[in-house]
């Protein structure tokens, strides 16, 4: 989102009056996500994104920067001031009508296709997650419907072409500098290599093991208990299981 806004093309689009204030209620339906309301929320980020992409232009601070970036010198009264941004009325009008809603990714209400998930599959999934079975037929039907719409949603997601895009696992710094910082080097391992000693003349090494028992950090897992020692037998935790029914098939 930030990168997108930083492109020059988009700059001029924002260079328009008519961008209404934050307090104005969006005219779009309630559950629609309007591009404009997202822009409103991210107005400061817009300027930051542009700074990165246009470093050479960043010579002064304050209103004069806006002038250089937006290329306008006129404070038109038709323009709507939204934080540091002035929006043209035509743009404001265009942004008032959302062009997309997440609803497009969900199955239509009146869908009558066969359920994608069977009862058995639902029970299997619940068992895998150690969750209880639904208590009533109604609850089960609701679960199946929810699963259905979620699968539909995911299938829509899967239509996006992700060739050559590495899947995101977590939001992390992936710059080369950060990777270098994180690399395990010989320095990192030096203290552990020093725990070893050479044995004999063939290159064998053996890690020196402590002769006395090492206690833990002093954290006592039994502190977590309710004090009634319901899960403790001596120094062990314990679990009880149901006695397996007699069967001859091993």
């Amino acid at each position: 989102m930030v990168g997108l806004v930083g492109t020059p093309g988009f700059c001029t689009c924002l260079d328009a009056p008519g961008f209404k204030g934050r307090n104005r209620q969006p005219e779009a339906p309630k559950d629609a996500v309007s591009l404009r309301s997202r822009l409103l929320g991210h107005a400061p980020l817009v300027s930051i994104g542009i700074q990165h992409d246009h470093d050479t232009m960043f010579q002064k601070t304050g209103p004069s920067i806006r002038r250089i970036i937006w290329g306008t010198n006129i404070k038109d009264s038709n323009y709507v001031q939204r934080g540091p941004v002035q929006i043209k009325p035509e743009i404001e009008a265009m942004l008032a009508q959302p062009s997309w809603s997440v609803r497009s990714l969900l199955p239509p209400e009146s869908s009558t296709t066969d359920p994608r998930v069977s009862r058995e599959q639902l029970h299997h999934l619940l068992k895998l997650s150690a969750l209880p079975r639904p208590k009533s037929k109604a609850e089960e039907t609701k679960m199946l419907q929810t699963l259905d719409s979620q699968i539909h949603f995911v299938k829509e997601m899967q239509k996006i072409d992700t060739t050559n895009v590495e899947p995101l696992i977590a939001i992390r710094d992936e710059t080369a500098e950060y990777v270098d910082e994180q690399k395990i080097t010989l320095e990192t391992l030096r203290p552990y290599l020093e725990q070893e000693e050479k044995v004999g003349t063939n290159g064998t090494v053996r890690r020196r093991k402590p002769t006395k028992m090492i206690a833990s950090s002093g954290w006592d897992p039994f502190e977590l208990g309710d004090g009634k020692e319901t899960r403790k037998k001596g120094k062990f935790f314990f679990v009880r299981k149901e006695k397996a029914p007699e069967n001859t098939s091993g």
Partner: protein
């Protein structure tokens, strides 16, 4: 004893010699009819085995917590909150585990990945506090290694002389807590082990006999021990094996399962948690026979998990069928950063990688003149301690003697392996480094090499040292009159004259025929040896004196 204990001396050497003899192609003539039939039946099927080995890494901390990984007798005394999956606790990768892990991967000839990632393997069990195990399913630490097995490692004839087993990957993962069954319904849990670092070594399905399977596991354990990566063996629970077994008819093309890129295989089953080399062999054999029985009678093999136990070594039992199959839902762990390893780490560890047994064997044969059988025997003794003592002795000698190393090497080897070995066996003593000082042994061998001790005297001296005498060897030899005092020329002279006089007819024959009368000369020599002081006479000198005295006139 960290490794599987091996019998001392004679039985071990006999085993190795038998194996060596077998490899030369001799086999027992008596093959019973039943064996022949079984052999024929087996010849129509090909067995394929792949093995996954889990080994505890030799390191001071756990994988994702700073808790100590050193063994402690007190249950639940060595855990941090993350090891019990206390809500809010976070993983903290411990670089210490990389030293043994990378060494293990290098010793197995793998490529260390510059970047590897951690994944979650989900299943619920009381020894898995988080409900998932952290492992490396998608991007493991190391890939594409191999291991070579030869007949020295215990391969049977059916495998041929040498096989190469591919290793798919080596990955880091967590160990579970330890469970003890108190009774039928209660299990006691000790979380000391929860979160320990393990490596999982996954082989390609390249093994084709039960013997090869056991040999593979044995070899992996010895390699891991040699590079200090995993020092607790199978017997102590530090190493566990899961085997995957399938069979296919040799003349049949319908087997079309593919595992790890190897195709044309039959449906496989898994046998989990085997904890000794013999059990690996027995379980594979039992499962192979079961699968052949099922297929021959027209049935099909289900992909299931089976168990094996020592109490019924000929069979495997079903633990879990396809309907009970666990879906692990592998998922990259979002809490853990990828692991990036600098190439200098890999290069340093590779350069200083401790030698694996094969390398030590080659060294003993090349530099110390050992035979393969003797070298194997030496390496197997006392967890490598005897080898080091042996090398110390030779090192002392090198300072002393300006001699060809290999000749002395064999001599010292003889003392260390055979003479001392015999003493240890007969007195049922365990060797330890302080038993006899290496300097003393070196002195003993040195004296013998200088002919100041005869064979029998040297053995006597060894016994004195073995019994704990701390005097220097020179002192003992003096005081116990063990030194060889050679006969003087006059004594030889006198003895030769006496023998010649007593056997004048033979002497005349020698005088007349010279070199042609070898037999008679030997006879006279024998007489001298018998009549002279057994401990002091030297055959060569005696022979020379005789030759001089009996040389034909003018020769």
């Amino acid at each position: 004893m960290l490794l599987e204990p091996l019998p001392e001396q004679a039985p071990l050497r006999k085993q190795l010699k038998d194996a060596a003899r077998a490899s030369r192609g001799k086999h027992d003539d008596e093959v019973s009819e039943r064996d022949r039939v079984r052999h024929e039946r087996l010849a129509q099927w090909e067995l394929t085995v792949g093995i996954e080995i889990h080994a505890q890494l030799n390191t001071s901390s756990k994988l994702f917590s700073r808790a100590s990984a050193e063994y402690t007798d007190v249950p639940n005394a060595a855990s941090w909150p993350f090891d019990l999956a206390v809500p809010g606790s976070q993983p903290l990768f411990q670089p210490a585990v990389l030293v043994p892990a990378i060494r293990a991967a290098l010793a197995l000839k793998c490529q260390i990945q510059r970047r590897s990632k951690f994944d979650r393997k989900h299943y619920f069990y009381h020894d898995q506090p988080a409900g998932y195990q952290i492992t490396q399913y998608y991007e493991p630490l190391a890939r594409d290694g191999h291991l070579v097995l030869t007949q020295q490692d215990g391969l049977g004839e059916k495998d041929g002389g040498k096989i190469e087993i591919g290793i798919k990957q080596v990955q880091l993962e967590q160990d579970t807590a330890k469970t003890q069954e108190q009774d039928e319904v209660t299990s006691l849990i000790d979380f000391n082990r929860s979160g320990h670092a393990l490596i999982e070594i996954i082989s390609l399905p390249h093994l084709h006999t039960p013997e090869a399977a056991a040999a593979y596991v044995r070899k992996v354990q010895s390699i891991l021990y040699a590079v200090d990566a995993a020092t607790t063996g199978m017997e102590l629970g530090g190493l566990r094996a899961d085997v995957n077994v399938s069979v296919r008819r040799l003349d049949d093309n319908t087997s079309n399962h593919s595992y790890s890129g190897v195709g044309g295989l039959g449906q496989r089953t898994e046998i989990k948690n085997l904890s000794s080399f013999k059990s690996v062999e027995d379980a594979v054999r039992a499962e192979r026979d079961r699968q052949i029985d099922v297929l021959e009678s027209g049935g099909t093999i289900e992909g299931e998990t089976r168990g094996w136990s020592l109490s019924a070594p000929g069979v495997t039992r079903r633990l879990r069928g396809k309907e009970g199959e666990v879906d692990y839902r592998y998922m990259p762990d979002p809490d853990i950063s990828p692991l990036y390893i600098h190439p200098e780490v890999v290069e340093h560890l590779r350069e200083h990688l401790p030698p694996v047994p094969e390398q030590l064997l080659d060294m003993l044969c090349a530099n110390y003149g050992f035979t393969v059988v003797d070298a194997q025997a030496l390496l197997a003794l006392d967890n490598g301690g005897r080898l080091l003592w042996y090398q110390d002795i030779v090192a002392h000698l090198k300072v002393r003697e300006n001699d060809v190393r290999s000749r002395l090497g064999v001599q010292v080897g003889n003392w260390v392996l055979h003479e001392l070995g015999a003493l240890l066996t007969t007195t049922e003593t365990q060797w330890h480094p302080g038993l006899i000082d290496s300097q003393q042994m070196a002195d003993l061998v040195s004296l013998q090499a200088q002919n100041k001790l005869t064979g029998p005297s040297a053995k006597r001296l060894l016994r004195i040292l073995f019994d704990g005498d701390k005097r220097s060897v020179a002192e003992i030899a003096e005081e116990e009159n063990l030194l060889f005092m050679p006969m003087t020329d006059e004594e030889y002279d006198a003895l030769a004259d006496a023998v010649i006089e007593a056997n004048s007819s033979e002497a005349d024959v020698v005088r007349q025929n010279g070199k042609q009368a070898k037999g008679k000369l030997k006879f006279l020599l024998g007489q001298m040896m018998r009549q002279g002081d057994r401990n002091r006479i030297e055959a060569q000198r005696a022979e020379r004196i005789l030759q001089t005295k009996l040389s034909p006139v003018g020769a």
